[in-house]
């Protein structure tokens, strides 16, 4: 009963609101309805009311706003046309309030999504005409800032914004600018937060969290902006603020004239926004996400990509997975933008650890590794170190990793005939040495453990696995015995693939490089799938004279399989039911 009543009441109020709105629109006399309608526009009011109020207010303000004076400079113009001026400044203040409420609705987590959509449209409508017919950047900035700073998840709004308005160049332009400003404030906040850290650690976690949220939202805004296309399409320069018919033609001419300049400006703002963003203390997952996409979405559009080198080298120095991920960006900078990176290969060498074969982004890494080692101008010691290190890793890598390693070594051997001694060392003076060996042995019998070790024992591996400096690994004096061991690898594709190293790779005409791409994305799953895809043609079975026991101590050294009897020793209470069951059975 009560609900019906309240509904009725609601209906009546809604009707009232409607009449108020129509009155407001019909004549100036009813302008005092404005505050009443305005009061309905808030995140807490029911959506129908808010919508109704919004509609009427929107249609009221839309024609008026361009003529309204901006908030600040209203004072000096006093004395001219007092009543009109007062009215206008009042209107202005009301408008400001309206906009504020709208933004509140937008960022509040309570309000409905469809309502938010309408509200956003309205705001953007005002942004379009707000600044005396031009782009109202202050409002737009306020909107973005509120979105970023609010505590709710901004995903929906950002997506909406991106899908509807980011196609307009001016929207994009001002987005970059405001993002830069927002990031500045965030940074300031962060540094102040750090200062506060000493004072109260309790609040610190929370503020950190909120900053992280802000950063995430900023990233989502940045990544949602469609990248500026290099081809100068017309649609690329469509302006949001001038999309109305009247001024369009005149403005367009101006745009066309400054197209190049415009894109330059865009690039500048784009770079500024990204650079400032990257200087923020990014959380780890954001960091990874940025690094993964950096070389595709950011670097090509920067005005000066070299400014990223700080960021990239810093991440490359971190080590581990992040270094692996930073490598692709760094590689672009080095190859296309003339970045000189000292000790690049040392760092690259340091990245070769067993874990890299299980890492998520290993495919890209191995392709890049192959690319980095492509130059035949690399010194032999470097190539040898890489080859030897890789082959050492093959002893601990999964089968897919072993495949990649063999492919990489194959390519290395082919590019650098000088390191062919790693797989094929014909001791040219071997016979001589052998002859002298005997003498030496007899000579050095008196003083053992001198430095003749190397001569006496050809099998000693001089390779130093521990050093991180590829120039000091002594790899050239070693030999890839590990590859020989891989011949006995349990996985058939691996042991097959080793054979490819057997043809003489120094003859470049007869051999081709192996495309690392074919192997780099391999995993247990691919190898397993490959095996299972094989058709079952014949099934040999083992032959026994007498079938052996399932488990015996001789097959499994270090275990016992006493079962029931063994259990007796450990836990006595377990013994009983087991026995009971046996009795039941028999």
């Amino acid at each position: 009963m009560a609900s019906a009543k309240s509904k009725k009441k609601e209906k009546r109020e809604l009707a009232d609101l409607k009449t108020l709105g129509t009155q407001l629109l019909t004549s100036r006399a009813h302008v005092n309805n404005l505050p009443r309608i305005l009061s309905h526009v808030s995140p807490s009011s029911p959506p129908q009311f808010a919508l109704e109020a919004l509609l009427s207010l929107h249609s009221f303000f839309a024609p008026v706003v361009p003529e309204l004076p901006s908030a600040g400079p209203s004072a000096p113009k006093k004395g001219e046309d007092e009543p009109e001026l007062i009215y206008r400044s009042w209107l202005r203040s009301k408008f400001e309030e309206f906009v504020k409420r709208l933004i509140e609705i937008c960022v509040s987590s309570e309000s409905d999504e469809t309502l938010k959509e309408v509200v956003l449209d309205t705001i953007m409508e005002f942004v379009k005409i707000g600044n005396a017919g031009g782009f109202y950047s202050a409002l737009y900035h306020r909107l973005l800032q509120n979105i970023v700073m609010s505590k709710m998840e901004g995903e929906f709004l950002v997506n909406l914004l991106a899908s509807k308005f980011m196609n307009y160049i001016d929207v994009r332009y001002f987005t970059y600018i405001s993002v830069e400003n927002i990031v500045r404030t965030l940074e300031a906040k962060n540094s102040s937060g750090e200062k506060d850290e000493a004072t109260d650690g309790n609040d610190d976690g929370e503020s950190n969290k909120s900053i992280e949220l802000c950063i995430r939202k900023t990233l989502s805004i940045l990544s949602n902006i469609p990248p500026p296309r290099s081809s100068e399409e017309k649609s690329d320069f469509a302006m949001w603020s001038n999309s109305d018919d009247g001024q369009k033609s005149s403005k367009k001419n101006r745009n066309l004239l400054s197209a190049e300049k415009l894109s330059k400006k865009m690039k500048l703002k784009f770079s500024k926004a990204w650079i400032s963003f990257l200087w923020l203390p990014l959380p780890l997952d954001v960091y990874k996400e940025v690094l993964v996409n950096l070389h595709q979405t950011v670097i090509p559009y920067l005005s000066k990509p070299a400014i990223l080198c700080d960021f990239l080298t810093r991440s490359y120095d971190i080590g581990g997975v992040i270094s692996v991920m930073a490598l692709s960006g760094l590689f672009i900078l080095m190859t296309q933008h003339g970045l000189e990176y000292p000790n690049f290969y040392e760092k690259l060498y340091a990245l070769l650890v067993p874990s890299v074969f299980m890492a998520k982004h290993r495919a890209k890494f191995f392709e890049l590794l192959d690319l980095c080692l492509k130059s035949p101008l690399l010194p032999a010691y470097l190539a040898a170190s890489f080859a030897k290190k890789l082959s050492r890793l093959a002893l601990s890598a999964p089968p897919s990793g072993a495949l990649i390693i063999i492919a990489l070594i194959h390519n290395l051997l082919r590019r650098h005939p000088s390191i062919n001694c790693l797989v094929h060392r014909v001791d040219g003076d071997g016979t001589k040495e052998d002859a002298s060996d005997v003498e030496k042995l007899s000579e050095n019998a008196q003083d053992p453990s001198t430095n003749d070790k190397s001569d006496k024992r050809p099998g000693v591996d001089h390779f130093d696995n521990e050093t991180l400096d590829p120039s000091k690994t002594n790899a050239m004096r070693s030999s890839l015995w590990e590859i020989d061991t891989l011949r006995h690898h349990y996985s058939p594709p691996v042991s097959r693939f080793v054979l490819s190293l057997e043809n003489d790779l120094t003859v470049r005409a007869k051999t081709t490089e192996i495309a690392v791409k074919d192997f780099s994305s391999g995993s247990y799953a691919t190898i397993f799938g490959e095996e299972m895809r094989k058709r079952v043609k014949q099934v040999p079975t083992a032959f026994y004279k007498t079938t052996p026991a399932l488990f015996s101590e001789s097959d499994f050294p270090g275990w016992t399989f006493k079962g029931v009897n063994g259990r007796k020793n450990v836990e006595d209470d377990e013994n009983e039911p087991a026995k009971r069951q046996r009795i039941e059975c028999s």
Partner: protein
């Protein structure tokens, strides 16, 4: 000159007509006489070394005149004809053929003439007999030889009559003609004629052969008779042989003749009577009387064995039934029954005879087909038993997935003979997989779950048959299990009666579980044995399908037993051997089963790796199955349809599963031991196992400061609980190897996993396994690189304060062993020489030459090249020859034209001279005044 030649020819023509056969010789003589240059032979005075000597002796003059003659015949003719519109063609037979003499030409012409007349045959014209005779006579002979006077017709009279000769000639030519135009359509009459003549000819031949034969026989008989009657033969031959010969004679001589020689035959009988049996014959007779050797005690074929076994069991079953029915003298029967049991080596089997009431049901059961059984089961299921419901539920659930799976498996299946068998059994297998879960679920369930059982099943399916989620009180549960399986169901009482001797292969898991429920281990094994005997593949073709289904069920039973706590180790062990044997019988199907299971297990692993909240290490079921497969299939194959994926799966477990507890360590360590077992057989490198051992060793070291390389490994094997899980705290722990089954029955959070005895046990198995790997891998060229880091870790671990002394010794010993072997490698191992190539031969500088070199022969080993060169040379030669010929032609034509010209010139000058002479004469006459006086007047 021309005139002279023309005269010569004319003369020759005249001569030709005079004496035909000599004309050619004359012609030659004449031409030889005309041109003396033709008789000159060109000949080289010296032999020049290396110069071609082919065709050096020839008569150049002769060749030239021949060429000129040829041109005269061809080119000149053309030239002469060039200005003319029509030409005269001589179409007389043989006129253009120079080889024929005038006489032959005449013969040919007359032949043609006769042929023309003959070819205009009338329809009803009959041939006369003579001609036919001649026809078939020729038919045979002509094919072989040309000469018509054949041996085949000796009776044919020789005829010198020219007309006859001509007829024969005609025959030849006509036959020739026929051969030429073999495909000419023969008229009906011709065909008939041919057939008649053929048959006549053959009749004649037969008749003649018969006559000859008879003659010969007669002659032989006479000769033989004289021979037999002469004493010489008798003295020479022995009586035995004599008998033989006489028989031969008797055989050979036709019946009529035997009558004739009756006196002779009586004589022969006398001879045989006189001949006494000698030693040879005696032996022969005794041998005839002796028993022939017979095939005895043949080794039975496998089918026969199987059949016998089946029959034996059937007989036993029959007896048992009889005894069951005869309740009166049960005491006697029981004794007998007992005996039988003893005979069948089944001491533990219980005599079910006491439970008299249930016998009837049992009888029905064994008689009924499985459909009825299912019906019965469903009925009983309605009595509130959970089993029935659950099975129905799962069946409906599984239907959908079955179809998909079948589709998937289709391509695997290929063109195997047991295609449909397989498909049908695949569905069973899937069902089995699901049922597996169900049973596990029943394990987990509490007693009171009756109502919403189906739902439970679905929920519990995620647990995937591994019983690790079970809570602590295993024992109580197992008690419950046995209780509720015995339950209040009526038919369950049947279970206690004895095992039937003949058992149909169960077709569904319910049947199997009903059969095996609450039996003792020995009974179960006996039952399986009997099922296999009764349905041996060797007996019937369709048994293959049955056995395949049964194999799937048995495998499932094995898997369930492996995941059930407490372990029935003896049962599992006993189940393994029939499974191994059956896999050998149906290898293809077993491989499919195994692959399917491996695939599923891997999928489970992937799921577990994605959501990390539960352990991803394999369940005991998986472990047992993997072990079973490594027994069934050869591990040493380079690539095996089952073992390759299975080992890959084992290694993936070792590599990817994070170690979080002692339980994980146990399973991982056990998996390592299994990998070692495979590695021992296959001698292959399994890096994952070594890495796992290395990680465990690190867990045994208390120190957190580890070398750089080792810290990298933490990324690799995700040691999520980095605290030293294996670090021993008590020095005095005694070292006993762990009992695997005991540990597997412990709950995951048992305090035992943190005890020192557990740690020591793991360390023991680690050391043992590592020792095994060292042994296997010692021949690998990178042995030092593989094991030296491990030995370093071991020494470090051994130096820990609280490590038990015995363990320290073991670790140090092993480390020493590794170091020793590594040193050995350092000495012996050589740098790699992978790219071995055949040594290139040194280029030799001594001269290459052919023995018996002939100039001009192509010694090129490349056939194609030499061929091409030869052809090019030929082209060049031919072109040269053609140019030369053309030049000569031109020259010849020029000469002819020149001759004509001179001829014309001569004629003209002659005419001119004549005219001039006439005019001069007239002038003279005029001047002299013979024709008038005009001249005088003028003068």
């Amino acid at each position: 000159m021309m005139g002279a030649k023309g005269n010569g020819e004319k003369k020759m023509k005249k001569k030709k007509r005079a004496a035909g056969p000599n004309v050619v010789a004359m012609k030659h003589k004449a031409s030889a006489a005309t041109n003396p240059f033709e008789s000159i032979w060109s000949r080289s005075k010296f032999h020049v070394l290396g110069k071609k000597r082919k065709g050096e002796e020839r008569r150049i003059g002769m060749a030239r005149s021949l060429a000129i003659d040829k041109r005269k015949k061809t080119l000149l003719k053309e030239y002469e004809r060039s200005g003319k519109a029509s030409a005269f063609v001589d179409k007389r037979i043989g006129e253009l053929n120079d080889d024929l003499e005038e006489f032959d030409k005449a013969i040919l012409r007359s032949q043609r003439e006769r042929q023309m007349t003959l070819s205009k045959k009338r329809k009803y014209k009959l041939s006369d007999g003579d001609e036919d005779e001649a026809d078939f006579g020729f038919e045979g002979g002509l094919l072989g030889q040309d000469d018509f006077q054949d041996d085949m017709e000796p009776e044919e009279e020789e005829d010198n009559d020219p007309s006859k000769k001509f007829a024969n000639l005609k025959q030849i030519s006509s036959v020739d003609h026929e051969e030429e135009e073999d495909f000419r359509h023969k008229s009906k009459k011709e065909v008939m004629e041919e057939i008649i003549s053929k048959s006549k000819y053959h009749k004649e031949l037969n008749r003649k052969a018969k006559e000859d034969n008879e003659q010969l026989m007669e002659q032989l008989d006479q000769e033989f008779e004289t021979l037999v009657q002469s004493e010489a033969l008798l003295s020479l031959t022995r009586p035995n042989q004599m008998a033989n010969t006489t028989t031969i004679v008797a055989d050979n001589i036709p019946n009529g003749q035997i009558k004739k020689d009756e006196p002779f035959s009586s004589l022969r009988e006398n001879i045989t009577a006189q001949a006494k049996p000698d030693a040879y014959e005696k032996i022969l007779k005794t041998m005839q009387l002796e028993m022939r050797a017979r095939p005895s005690d043949r080794i039975k074929t496998s089918e026969e064995l199987a059949r016998e076994e089946k029959e034996r069991l059937e007989k036993l079953e029959e007896k048992r039934r009889e005894r069951m029915l005869a309740i009166d003298d049960s005491s006697d029967d029981e004794l007998g029954h007992e005996d039988v049991k003893l005979a069948t080596q089944k001491p533990k089997s219980i005599s079910g005879d006491d439970l008299g009431d249930s016998f009837d049901i049992n009888d029905e059961e064994t008689k009924m087909g499985w459909v009825d059984e299912i019906l019965q089961r469903n009925e009983s299921g309605d009595n509130g038993s959970e089993n029935g419901e659950s099975s129905q539920d799962t069946e409906t659930d599984v239907d959908d997935s079955d179809e998909e799976d079948e589709d998937d498996d289709d391509d695997d299946d290929g063109s195997r003979e047991d295609n449909e068998n397989y498909l049908s059994s695949v569905s069973f297998k899937d069902w089995e997989q699901e049922n597996d879960d169900v049973v596990a679920a029943t394990d987990n369930d509490d007693k009171n779950v009756v109502s919403d059982y189906g739902q439970e099943v679905r929920e519990e399916r995620d647990h995937g048959g591994d019983g690790r989620e079970q809570d602590g009180n295993i024992m109580s549960r197992s008690k419950k299990l046995s209780e509720h399986s015995m339950g209040d169901e009526n038919y369950l009482s049947v279970q206690f009666e004895s095992l039937p001797y003949t058992i149909e292969a169960p077709a569904s898991f319910e049947e199997l579980s009903k059969l095996l429920q609450d039996r003792s281990d020995a009974d179960i094994i006996e039952a399986i044995k009997r099922i296999r005997k009764c349905n041996a593949i060797a007996l019937k073709a369709e048994n293959r399908k049955k056995m395949q289904v049964f194999y799937g069920l048995l495998l499932q039973y094995f898997a369930i037993s492996a995941s059930r706590r407490p372990f029935k180790f003896d049962l599992l062990n006993a189940l393994a051997s029939p499974l191994v044997e059956m896999s050998v019988e149906i290898p293809y199907f077993s491989a499919i089963c195994a692959r399917e299971r491996i695939m599923r297990t891997r999928m489970q692993l992937c799921d577990a790796l994605k959501n990390r909240d539960r352990s991803c290490w394999p369940s005991t079921k998986t472990l047992f199955l993997l072990r079973l497969w490594s027994m069934v299939y050869p591990c040493s194959d380079f690539r095996h349809v089952v073992m390759t994926p299975a080992t890959l799966l084992m290694c993936e477990y070792l590599m990817r599963c994070p170690i979080t507890s002692g339980y994980d360590i146990t399973i991982g360590m056990f998996l390592c031991s299994m990998v070692l077992y495979v590695a021992k057989l296959s001698r292959k490198l399994y890096p994952e196992a070594l890495m796992f051992i290395r990680t465990l060793l690190m867990a045994a070291i208390n120190k957190r400061i580890v070398s750089d390389e080792d810290s990298q490994l933490y990324f690799l094997v995700e040691l999520k609980a980095p605290e030293p899980l294996l670090f021993s705290n008590d020095r005095s722990t005694e070292l006993t190897p762990l009992d695997f089954f005991m540990i597997m029955e412990l709950p995951e959070d048992s305090s035992f996993f943190s005890s020192d005895s557990f740690r020591a046990g793991i360390m023991i198995s680690l050391v043992e396994t590592l020792g095994g790997f060292i042994e296997v891998y010692e021949s690998f060229s990178s042995f030092p690189e593989l094991f030296l880091p491990i030995s370093k870790l071991m020494i470090e671990a051994a130096n820990g304060e609280n490590m038990p002394g015995e363990m320290q010794d073991k670790l140090k010993e092993l480390a020493k062993l590794i170091n020793r072997k590594a040193q050995g490698h350092y000495v012996l191992r050589q740098p790699l020489q992978m790219q071995k190539q055949k040594p290139l031969p040194i280029k030799l500088v001594n001269p290459k030459f052919e023995e018996n070199f002939v100039k001009g022969r192509d010694y090129d080993p490349d056939r194609e090249r030499s061929e091409a060169r030869r052809l090019k040379k030929q082209i060049k030669q031919e072109a040269k020859g053609a140019v030369r010929e053309l030049r000569k032609d031109n020259f010849f034509l020029f000469e002819v034209k020149e001759k004509e010209k001179t001829l014309n010139e001569e004629e003209r000058t002659e005419k001119y001279g004549k005219a001039k002479a006439f005019l001069q004469e007239q002038e003279h006459a005029f001047k002299s005044g013979q024709l008038g006086k005009g001249g005088k007047r003028r003068r």
